[in-house]
């Protein structure tokens, strides 16, 4: 009897060990999708911040209503994801401070790159800065590449951080940004284009190095910022 049970156990073990050996025969997420968001006015990468826009991917290989997948922006206006399934995708840059663009469909496999050209809502032009003691003064002009249908301009905010990653999501808000916001709250006009704006940020801590920029936003769906270049400020 014992022998029988033992041999049954052995048989069961062998069965279980050898069953279900089906291998997943689909390819893993081994494709890379990368590219840049090009500012149609300057021809350079859009000035943005980490997460300042998203590239939305809808994989159409299996379903016409897939769950969207988003690649967040890098601070230099590029994007890259090295773990994408090869397939046929509908892609669109979205949720950023630029005029909506149309979707495109592409096949992604291996190492696919794609640059998108977008028109920003606003540009910060003639950006200059000077430091007097511990007070940082930034002057600039506002320029809208396309004025028709432009949502109302909300405000310009200074962003100050102690690393070169600086933007609305990385700033010393309570001390430097919040108290110094320049409210505008008006539709873009010729007057606005001619005005030279100044934002003053007082009381920077001495002996520190800060990175600073300003950003302007309009009252669109996303309320993201169009930025100036980042400048390095050594406070004596």
């Amino acid at each position: 009897m014992k022998k029988l049970i033992n041999s049954l156990l052995v048989a069961a073990t062998i069965c279980m060990a050898t069953s279900c050996s089906k291998k997943d025969n689909y390819a893993g997420p081994d494709a890379t999708f990368s590219g840049n968001l090009i500012n149609s006015v300057t021809g350079k990468n859009l000035l943005t911040e980490t997460g300042g826009f998203q590239i939305q991917l809808d994989e159409l290989s299996w379903s016409s209503t897939p769950v969207p997948y988003n690649i967040p922006a890098k601070p230099d206006g590029s994007f890259k994801d090295t773990r994408i399934f090869s397939g046929h995708y509908r892609v669109i840059p979205r949720n950023g401070a630029f005029w909506p663009v149309d979707t495109t469909e592409i096949d992604i496999s291996g190492n696919t790159t794609k640059d998108f050209t977008v028109t920003p809502y606003m540009e910060i032009k003639n950006f200059t800065w000077k430091l007097t003691g511990t007070t940082l003064q930034m002057t600039f002009n506002l320029f809208a590449p396309k004025t028709e249908g432009l949502p109302r301009v909300l405000d310009v905010q200074p962003f100050i951080n102690n690393t070169q990653f600086v933007g609305s999501g990385a700033t010393i808000y309570d001390v430097y940004t919040g108290p110094n916001i320049l409210g505008i709250n008006a539709n873009y006009s010729d007057d606005m284009a001619k005005t030279t704006y100044t934002i003053t940020v007082p009381n920077l801590l001495s002996g520190r190095t800060f990175y600073a920029r300003v950003g302007v936003r309009v009252d669109d769906s996303n309320k993201k910022f169009n930025y100036s270049e980042i400048v390095k400020v050594d406070v004596p």
Binding site: S63, S64, T65, V67, P68, N95, P100, Y173, D174, G178, D219, S221, N222, K223
Partner: protein, 615 residues
């Protein structure tokens, strides 16, 4: 001999066989058992009422209706935290995208009654029958309103769906337009109004309750049509009318809201039992017999449904266990009072002999809604104090710019502590009711204030533990109907309507003990009145959304508290207006004006696409 018996038995069996077994099974309850008698219908309706999506004490905006859930004691996880009327554990984004609410199983239960109950109409008097059927319509409207205010357009299912009799394609119902859903709600509520009687049955609907909810739903639709037309996120769902209502519909909805609210007039009234306005407003939320209560939800310890409001709104100094974790903001207080008189004309903080001097002369409704420093509960004072200044020689503004570190030649001038028992020269550094030096601990206030609304002050401290509070949740009270009426009237804007709005606002202000409004009131007057009257009652979150101002009000916004300090060398108190200790930044993304459809449902039913804009 044996064979003879065998034959007899066989014959017997042959005659006894083939008796058809058609006795109704006794363990299955059938329609005719339920829908033919009052007890049956009442119990069927109870099963519906029991699952109504009521945003009560235990509702959590990111978790849902928490019926029977183990974490339903956390009553401080409430939507007031998302709006800045309170601050607590939420950032706006933690809860703005909902919890995948999709109650079509409950809607089917209601549809089952609406389809099958009419077959048994003869078993009842017409009045009874109509009342019951009207309640079913009311409940269905209630569910659809809970859906539409979150998602915009959702599939309208009126019939009884069956699987596997119907194919998956048949059952994959597409979304209806947002406008169609609001019209459907209006028509269900109209059915309820015309069918039901006016008897007031506790925790159930009648004709006027349905009218009250109609005023709420139509007001939502009107404001979404009007304000959603200019502030929106574009996308397929908006283009197809699934998220958004055409602006030209606004007036029609406002008129419907006004008419529905007007219908309630004379059938419910504002609570005015006591001449002491503050005490009257406190008791309004505790008196079971209030003529203001329209639709309520009750709780009891014996059924395991008790909540924890007392234990989670004030600190343990006043309760048996639990923690407070959400606190009213000074910003809300200032809606009532303007800037509080805590600073002298020269900028120095005003000196108080006693903390309770701050409360003097404030609106009774405000004092009945919020516990200020110096108030008492169960014989204990809210001795709120953040620390001790050895001396204070400057202005409030300078000291705050200095981050509470001015010394005025006095080393370690400000004494603060994280330890409740720490003394400085024989005096407690922090009060027993707060505040800590910095955030990090819950239980004691981060704004200097505590919620008073709904607190059962009569309960003994030992009975103020978790799952021991049984105060009734008032889901609709007449004051809200009046506010709906005033808001709809102001939106309609004709002279007689504006006059009516003024009259209604003054009814509320008179009851509240507030100064009456005179002359020209604006839509902002009505909105502020609504915020004040309905504070902490879970309305403001939806109001900010439907007015489409949430992205402006909550735009990296910080909220403030009032911090009492003791000044040692003067033996006086001062109060400073400081940012609440959690330093939360409130930010609302525009796409949150609609919640995303639940991913699981989109997977099951591709006809639900397109999802709401931005998701």
């Amino acid at each position: 001999m044996k064979a003879k018996y065998l034959v007899l038995i066989l014959v017997g069996l042959a005659f006894g066989a083939c008796n058809k077994l058609d006795v109704a099974p006794l363990n299955i309850i059938k329609d005719q058992d339920i829908f033919t008698n009052e007890t049956g219908v009442n119990s069927y309706l109870a099963s519906i009422y029991g699952t109504m999506p009521i945003e009560d004490f235990i509702y959590r905006p990111e978790r849902g209706f928490m019926n029977g859930d183990g974490e339903r004691w956390q009553n401080f996880m409430q939507p007031g935290n998302l709006t800045g009327e309170m601050v607590g554990r939420y950032n706006v984004g933690d809860a703005a995208q909902g919890f995948g609410f999709w109650p079509y199983d409950k809607i089917r239960t209601i549809n089952y009654m609406i389809v099958n109950f009419p077959k048994y109409a003869k078993a009842f008097t017409p009045d009874k029958y109509n009342q019951f059927l009207g309640e079913a319509y009311f409940c269905r409207a209630y569910f659809y309103f809970a859906l539409v205010k979150r998602y915009g357009g959702v599939p309208i299912v009126r019939s009884l769906q069956s699987y596997p009799e119907q194919s998956i394609e048949d059952l994959s119902v597409p979304r209806n337009k947002e406008q169609e859903v609001y019209d459907f709600i209006a028509s269900d509520l109209d059915s309820a109004i015309s069918l039901m009687g006016d008897a007031n049955i506790r925790a159930r609907a009648n004709k006027y309750v349905a009218a009250g909810y109609k005023s709420r739903a139509m007001l939502y639709a009107g404001t979404i049509a009007k304000y959603g037309a200019t502030n929106y996120v574009d996308g397929d769902a908006r283009q197809k009318g699934l998220a958004g209502i055409p602006a030209d519909q606004a007036t029609r909805y406002f008129q419907a809201a006004y008419d529905a609210a007007k219908l309630v007039e004379g059938h419910y009234s504002l609570y005015r039992k006591s001449d002491n306005k503050e005490q009257n407003y406190v008791d309004l939320f505790l008196d079971q017999s209030s003529p203001e209560n329209m639709y309520v939800k009750d709780y009891s310890m014996s059924t395991g449904t008790a909540h924890s409001w007392d234990a989670t709104m004030t600190c343990r100094y006043m309760t048996a266990d639990g923690d407070a974790a959400c606190y009213p903001t000074l910003d809300l207080v200032e809606k009532f009072t303007g800037p509080l008189p805590i600073t002298n004309p020269d900028g120095t903080p005003k000196r108080f002999n006693d903390r309770s001097e701050l409360k003097q002369g404030l609106e009774p409704r405000l004092l009945a809604s919020i516990y200020f420093p110096g108030a008492t509960l169960r014989g204990k004072e809210f001795d709120v104090q953040r620390g001790i200044y050895k001396k204070f020689n400057g202005t409030a503004a300078e000291e705050l710019a200095n981050n509470n570190t001015s010394s005025w030649d006095q080393p370690d001038n400000l004494v603060v502590s994280g330890d409740i028992n720490q003394l400085y020269n024989g005096r407690r550094v922090m009060g027993l009711a707060g505040m800590y030096a910095t955030a990090g601990n819950d239980n004691r206030t981060r704004t200097g204030l505590y919620v008073r609304k709904y607190i059962n002050y009569k309960a003994d401290q030992s009975t103020c533990g978790l799952y021991q509070s049984v105060q009734t949740w008032i889901d609709m009270r007449y004051a809200e109907v009046l506010l709906n009426r005033a808001e709809a009237a102001m939106e309609l804007g004709t002279a007689d309507k504006t006059a009516d709005a003024l009259n209604v606002i003054n009814q509320l202000r008179d009851r509240a003990g507030a100064a009456l409004a005179t002359g020209n009131i604006t839509i902002d007057t009505v909105r502020t009145e609504r915020m004040k009257e309905l504070a902490f009652e879970h309305h403001h979150w939806w109001d900010l959304r439907r007015w489409r101002i949430a992205d402006k009000v909550l735009d990296n916004t910080r909220f403030y508290g009032i911090y009492p300090y003791w000044i040692e060398n003067e033996n006086k108190y001062i109060m400073l207006k400081q940012e609440e200790m959690g330093h939360r930044s409130f930010f609302f993304e525009k796409k949150w004006y609609y919640e995303p459809l639940p991913g699981g449902e989109l997977g099951k039913n591709p006809n639900l696409y397109p999802n709401n804009p931005g998701y």
